[in-house]
Every structure is written in structure tokens, then in C-alpha cells.
């Protein structure tokens, strides 16, 4: 401790998070032990343990990755059946510059595992789509962003950037502002893949199959989704989904901004439930720094997360019903949503995208009438939800339009990597708030709604019930009352000092200057933190190199695998069914394309 700290007016609260020591996760030893167990169980050659991580991390040789994934998937005790994520990271100073990172989840054991493959330039990786169908699009994204090719991939072409794009943007040597323009003539034609049950010989039928393009500018395409379908009469026999129409380069922007400056970018991922993304990112950085936000901040984070979850479900249900022709529910449900947004506005000043959280707590304290306003909203919401449910659930037209529509089996849903309401609608009771609790969710009395069938009707049921469960949590939280205390952690390396101190004390001025100019500098290392977003597990994987900008930020997009499986859901159905199914998936392009 220096004399500066001893004489300072700011009380010394403990060792500051420093970037001079590498990040050692709290559970590193337990994770290493578990990693050794997993290694022993799968008994595959070419796999070693990478020690000192927050998840059991295995380093796999390039040629062996598909076999290792198959072993992890099939092993009766391990059962890593859910593919969470696949992404890359670029370390140009290494001879094998790319890290291809796989993250898997085991539903039976509630544990995650991370695998890494190190490849150099012009080295290919065997594809893993035969083990996990969901990794199809993820591998395309790694190819798009890094240029790593996957041998055996059925359709390896760009997914997020446009077809005239050159270069691989997430490489460290790619200039973030280098754009490539796409002219109208440069747009490539898409040929949908025919579903296996409909493949027929050439010239086998009297009828010609028609290709129809839906989107991206379309009333029911929820923004920027594009689906090209092949129709045999009215039946969809094949489809191809095209995304990337809102690729706003979140991950590259994160590398060029400081840790606090990334927070507004995270708001705009799932923009219907922005606070939940903030929570995920801020808690990931806090995990790496080894600090915890004060109880008051966590309480407000929980309340706003649940309110925004309700707002997200309102938008999903409302717009889905508009696609089916029922507009009244949309107008009606948006009134309580305005109240929720007004509550956020009273806290932060901004309506839809509050950017209210900071690393270490909240930006500012909540207003005095926060709890009474929250109580008023919790009192008004059940009436709206009940009335809308009564309007539609016994309506024969609604039931016939959504039952059996857009079905995906539980096995397929898990194999694609579904999480969130779409997975719970197939009968799997997986919710990150129960599996890996944060913000105190384990101290509240609530249930995870699960429906059977995996069709649009099941997804409706799950979302209605989730809103009610969120209201349950909110009512209990409001009864407990707002904890007293600060809303920001008392650590000058993370939190800006109050303005009066900045103008009156030298140390505060220095801390303020350092934080603004150099930002938060977490220790060197990597971490992963997951929260339950409106659509499923939103995970943030952060790599820090000790400087003010993150080295790598990866946001796991929950609706990426869901839209990937959309083609399978609508094969054999008609266009109106496809529209009904799409609305129930709640594909938010900000999160899908990042």
C-alpha cells in the first residue's frame, strides 16, 4: 500500500482489480479437476486440459475435433447434447493465430465445457454438423469473420456480411471502418435446399415448383429476415433463410471501444429486453474483475430485467397475433408496455434502450417513487394478460392456426442448440435463472413454465405463463423492499468518483482521469457469463489483454440456432403456417446478426 492510499480521503476497500496479475477464476481448481475427469471419461487421443479457466477447457487437435465432440455428445454420463456456441478469436502474434472455441452444455448434469482448437492461416477444421446440426450456421460465421474453412460443410459461404464483401472482418488486421458496397446487380440468387422427404427425380411430376422470396422488406418478417421457399403447389418443400441484414459489427465495435463504452452496444443486441443484455455483459466484466455490485444495484437489476422480459414477450405475442390478423391484442398490450418503458425512463432517462447499468452497479440511483410505480404496473398487468389470453385461447380460428404449426421435436431442438421459451415449449425445463442463478433468483419462489409439443401453440402458452411467473418474482421483490446503500461499488478503479470529490480532492481527480482516459483494465484472461434473456441463454465470452479495450467480446445469440432450425419447422407446411411460426420464435435481428 502506498502512502497515497493511506492518506487518501477515499477509504481503502481492499486490493484493487489490477491488470498486472492474470485473471484466476474463483472456481479454477474445481473446473480443472472436472476437466481431468471429462478427459478420462472420453478417453480420446489428442486432447489436453487447459488449466486455470472458469469452465473445464479442453485443447483439441484440429483433426480430432469431430470425434471428441461425438464422444462428449454420446457419453452416457456426460451427455453434452446442447451446442451452446462456436466462435473464433484471433491472436496474430501466435503461429497458430486462430482459436476456434466450442461451448457445449449438458442438460442432465447442468454443466458447460469449452473446447478450443488452434489453427493457423489456411488450415482447415473438420466440420461438426454431423454431431450438432446447429453448428452449421456457426461454422459459416467463423468462416465469414475469420476465414477458417470447415472441411465437409454442406454450404460454406458468408452468412452475416454480404456476398460482395472481401476480407474477414474480425481478424485483428482488418480495418474496422473498411466497407465494401453491394450494388443491386451484385445480389446473388438463392436456391433453397429441398427437404429430404420432398426430393424427387427431375421431370417426375407435371407440376413445376415455384421459388418465392419472403423479405427482407415484408410486413411479417419482423425487420430484416429473408426466407426463400420452394413451393410445390401450396406446400413448402424447401427453404433457405438469409440473415445478416442487420449485421452491425457489434463484436468489432467492442474491440475498438472501452469496457464501459460497450454497454450501449449490448443494449442494442436484443433491443426489446435491453436491460437483460446489460446485466449479462456487466456481470461478465465484474466476474473478471472479482467485484460484486452492491445489493441495491442487484435488486434494481432484477426488477428491471423481469419488467423488460415481460415487455419482450408483449412485443412477441402482440406482433405474432398481428401476423395472424388479430390486431386488438397488439394495441391493448402495448398500453402496459408503455408503463414499463415509462418506469425505465424515470430511472435512466431513455425509454427503450436505457443503458442504465455500469460495470459495478448502476449509472444513477432510482427515483423515490420507483417501488410504488413498479407496484402500480404489477397491479395493472394481470388484467391485460388475462384478457388477451381469454380472447385468443378459446378462439377456434386461433387454435387451428397455431396448433401443430411450426413443430420441432425436442431432440432436434436440443441438437440445434435451442434455449429459452422455444426450448421450454418442447418440454425441456432449462432456464439459466434456475440452472445458474444470479442476481438472487434462487431466493424467490417461482416456477419454470414448460409446454409439450414444440409447436406455435406451445410457444404461446410458455410466453404467457412466463409473464405471469415474472410478475410473481416482481411482486415478491417489491414486498422485500429496496435495500439501502449505494448503487455503485466503492472501488475507484471501476466506479467514477462523485463530482464533488473530483473537484475537491486530488486522488479523485486522478482516478476520474484514469477511468475516462484508460477505462477499466481487467486482468488478463478470459471468462464466460450467462444470463437468461427473453429468447434464451445470452452468454458473454470476454477476453481481456489488460488494456482498456476488450480483446474479444462474444455475445451468444439465442435466436441464431432458432432461426437456423426454421427451415426444418416449416417443411411440409404452407406459407400462412410459416408466418404464424416465425412470429412465435421472436427472432430479434439485433441479436441474430449482431
Amino acid at each position: 500500500m502506498s502512502t497515497l492510499t493511506k492518506l487518501s480521503a477515499i477509504p481503502y476497500t481492499g486490493p484493487a482489480p489490477t491488470n498486472r496479475q492474470p485473471y484466476v477464476p474463483a472456481a479454477a481448481e474445481a473446473m480443472d479437476a472436472r476437466g481431468q475427469e471429462i478427459l478420462a471419461k472420453i478417453a480420446q487421443p489428442g486432447v489436453t486440459l487447459e488449466a486455470g479457466q472458469d469452465l473445464p477447457t479442453l485443447l483439441v487437435e484440429t483433426a480430432r475435433i469431430a470425434d471428441v465432440l461425438r464422444a462428449l455428445h454420446d457419453h452416457p454420463e456426460l451427455r453434452f447434447t446442447l451446442p451452446l456456441d462456436l466462435f473464433g478469436a484471433d491472436y496474430p502474434n501466435r503461429p497458430k493465430r486462430f482459436d476456434i472455441v466450442y461451448q457445449l452444455y449438458s442438460l442432465s448434469n447442468n454443466e458447460r465445457v469449452r473446447l478450443k482448437v488452434r489453427v493457423g492461416e489456411n488450415e482447415n477444421v473438420p466440420t461438426s454438423v454431423n454431431v450438432y446440426q446447429g453448428y452449421d450456421w456457426y461454422e459459416r460465421e467463423v468462416f465469414d469473420m475469420y476465414g477458417v474453412k470447415f472441411d465437409g460443410h454442406p454450404n460454406l459461404r458468408r452468412i452475416l456480411t454480404h456476398e460482395a464483401f472481401q476480407g474477414h472482418p474480425l481478424r485483428k488486421d482488418y480495418d474496422p471502418a473498411q466497407r465494401w458496397l453491394l450494388s443491386e446487380a451484385g445480389v446473388a440468387a438463392l436456391v433453397p435446399k429441398i427437404a429430404p422427404q420432398f426430393v424427387r427425380e427431375e421431370g417426375d411430376s407435371d407440376y413445376e415448383r415455384v421459388t418465392l422470396n419472403l423479405g427482407p422488406s415484408h410486413p411479417a418478417m419482423h425487420g430484416t429476415l429473408r426466407v426463400v421457399v420452394t413451393l410445390d403447389g401450396e406446400t413448402i418443400v424447401g427453404s433457405e433463410q438469409e440473415i445478416g441484414y442487420l449485421h452491425r459489427c457489434f463484436e468489432k465495435m467492442s474491440e475498438t471501444h472501452t469496457y464501459q463504452q460497450v454497454i450501449p452496444f449490448t443494449d442494442r443486441l436484443n433491443y426489446c429486453s435491453a436491460v437483460i443484455n446489460n446485466v449479462g455483459y456487466c456481470m461478465a466484466v465484474e466476474k473478471m474483475l472479482g467485484i460484486a455490485a452492491p445489493a441495491r444495484a442487484d435488486y434494481v437489476r432484477l426488477i428491471l430485467s423481469e419488467f423488460y422480459r415481460i415487455a419482450d414477450h408483449i412485443v412477441c405475442i402482440g406482433t405474432n397475433l398481428v401476423d395472424l390478423g388479430a390486431l386488438t391484442n397488439f394495441w391493448y398490450l402495448f398500453q402496459p408496455r408503455e408503463e414499463i418503458i415509462a418506469l425505465a425512463e424515470s430511472c435512466s432517462g431513455a425509454r427503450l434502450l436505457p443503458t442504465y447499468l455500469r460495470v459495478g452497479g448502476l449509472a444513477v440511483d432510482v427515483p423515490a417513487d420507483f417501488l410504488s410505480n413498479a407496484q402500480k404496473i404489477v397491479n395493472m398487468l394481470p388484467k391485460y394478460i388475462d384478457e388477451v389470453e381469454a380472447l385468443i385461447m378459446k378462439n377456434r380460428i386461433f387454435r387451428e392456426r397455431v396448433e401443430g404449426v411450426g413443430v420441432l421435436s425436442q431432440a432436434d431442438a436440443i441438437n440445434f442448440g435451442f434455449t429459452g421459451p422455444c426450448l421450454r415449449a418442447t418440454g425441456v425445463a432449462f432456464d439459466v435463472r434456475k440452472a445458474n442463478p444470479y442476481l438472487g433468483y434462487e431466493t424467490y419462489d417461482w416456477d419454470v413454465p414448460v409446454a409439450e409439443g414444440g409447436d406455435t401453440y406451445a410457444r404461446f402458452l410458455v410466453r404467457f405463463e412466463e409473464m405471469r411467473q415474472s410478475l410473481r418474482i416482481l411482486q415478491q421483490a417489491i414486498h422485500r423492499g429496496l435495500p439501502a446503500g449505494p448503487v455503485m461499488v466503492d472501488n475507484p478503479y471501476v466506479a467514477l468518483p462523485p463530482k464533488e470529490k473530483v473537484y475537491n480532492e486530488m486522488e479523485s481527480l486522478i482516478y476520474h482521469f484514469k477511468l475516462i482516459m484508460h477505462g477499466i483494465q481487467p486482468p488478463v484472461g478470459e471468462t464466460y457469463f450467462q444470463v437468461e434473456g427473453g429468447n434464451g441463454e445470452v452468454g458473454f465470452y470476454l477476453v481481456s489483454d489488460g488494456t482498456k479495450n476488450p480483446y474479444r467480446v462474444r455475445a451468444r445469440p439465442p435466436c441464431f440456432p432458432i432461426f437456423e432450425a426454421y427451415g426444418k419447422m416449416i417443411a411440409g407446411q404452407t406459407i400462412p403456417d410459416a408466418i404464424a411460426a416465425l412470429g412465435s420464435l421472436n427472432i430479434i435481428a439485433g441479436e441474430l446478426d449482431r
Binding site: 464483401f165 471502418a177 425487420g223 449485421h247 452491425r248 415509462a342
Partner: protein, 195 residues
């Protein structure tokens, strides 16, 4: 205008005191923008007014803007709030939201436009019949927002002409409504000369 407490006890949204009813409406005066007031004469039970044809046409165009919401991102959600009952743009004639460019005259570009969707935006704009107007809603449509990145168009005026820029990230629904009303004023003053 003062900010009063909300009369409805279940709403937390603060309300402003309403404006007094316009004096002109009581006297039966009708004013078109740009015209001086004329008293409407009662001639054997009938009412009439004299003005230029162009003014009437502009008045009609301004009060019946049919939006095409080219909504890509977060601004589209605030656009949804604007057409919803709380803010309600249908009071100003813009209720019929048409996603077909052939049937709309006002394109509201709500959200980030990226290079991949830029040709689509141009095509949709070209398909709209004259007279057509464009509102760039939000920071991303205006200038790329805070995405100075490899895939984001730095303002839609790179591709199509824009009449009104609405700032905000996202703009509040009343901000967007203000932009639409400003466009209406522009049209009714005859400042936009189209086909």
C-alpha cells in the same frame, strides 16, 4: 403547459395539461397554411372557401401520409409505440401502414441500414410512386449512429434522398411524431416540389 399528476390512478406516465380548444374553430374560421384567414360566408345555408388548387392538394397530401415502415432495428419498436394507442399517429391521418411500396407515400427508415440491405432499400424506394417522402428516423439512419463499422451505411442519404431527419437513439415516439408533423408542414407550405 404544466406537468400535472396523472388523473388515472393506475398509470405512472406523467400527463401534461391540455391546450384550450382553438378559438378559430368556434368562430367557424378555416385557415390553410400559408393563407390568410377568410371568414366562411353562409350563403343560403352553404359554406365555401376560396383558395389555390395547389394549396388544397398539398393540404390533402400532408394530412394523408401513408407510412411504409422500413423498420430494421430498435427504432422500429419505437415506431410501433407511435402507431399504438398511447401516442397514436392515426390522429394525423397516418394510420394505414402499408408494407407494399406501391401503396405508400412516406417511407420511414427506422433502424440501421447495413450494406447488405442497402440495395433492398434502394429498390423499395424506387418502387414507390411519386409524390414520395422519406424520413430518416434515428441516429443510425441519419449518419450510421455510433456504428462506424465495416458493414453499416453511414447515413441513408448515401443512397436515397431524405426530407426529414429525426434525431435520437431511438427517438421517442413523440419525437418521431414531431418529425412527421414537420414533414406535413413542409408539404403543406409547398416546399416539397414533386411530380
Amino acid at each position: 403547459m404544466s406537468v400535472e399528476k396523472n388523473e388515472r390512478t393506475d398509470s405512472i406516465i406523467p400527463r401534461k395539461a391540455g391546450l384550450p380548444p382553438g378559438e378559430g374553430a368556434e368562430k367557424g374560421l378555416i385557415t390553410l397554411p400559408g393563407e390568410s384567414e377568410r371568414e366562411v360566408e353562409d350563403l343560403a345555408g352553404a359554406t365555401y372557401l376560396t383558395t389555390k388548387l395547389e394549396s388544397v392538394v398539398n393540404w390533402a397530401r400532408g394530412n394523408s401520409l401513408w407510412p411504409l415502415p422500413f423498420g430494421t432495428a430498435c427504432c422500429a419498436i419505437e415506431f410501433m409505440s407511435m402507431v399504438s394507442s398511447h401516442y397514436d399517429i392515426s390522429r394525423f391521418g397516418a394510420e394505414t401502414v402499408r408494407f407494399s411500396p406501391r401503396q405508400a407515400d412516406l417511407m420511414i427508415v427506422a433502424g440501421t441500414i447495413v450494406d447488405k440491405i442497402a440495395p433492398v432499400l434502394k429498390k423499395i424506394y424506387d418502387q414507390m410512386p411519386e409524390p414520395k417522402y422519406v424520413i430518416a428516423m434515428g441516429a443510425c439512419a441519419t449518419s450510421g449512429g455510433f456504428y462506424r463499422a465495416y458493414h453499416v451505411v453511414q447515413g441513408i442519404d448515401e443512397i436515397i434522398p431524405v426530407d426529414i431527419w429525426v434525431p435520437g437513439c431511438p427517438p421517442t415516439p413523440d419525437g418521431l411524431m414531431y418529425g412527421i408533423l414537420k414533414l406535413r408542414d413542409k408539404i403543406q407550405r409547398g416546399e416539397i416540389r414533386r411530380g
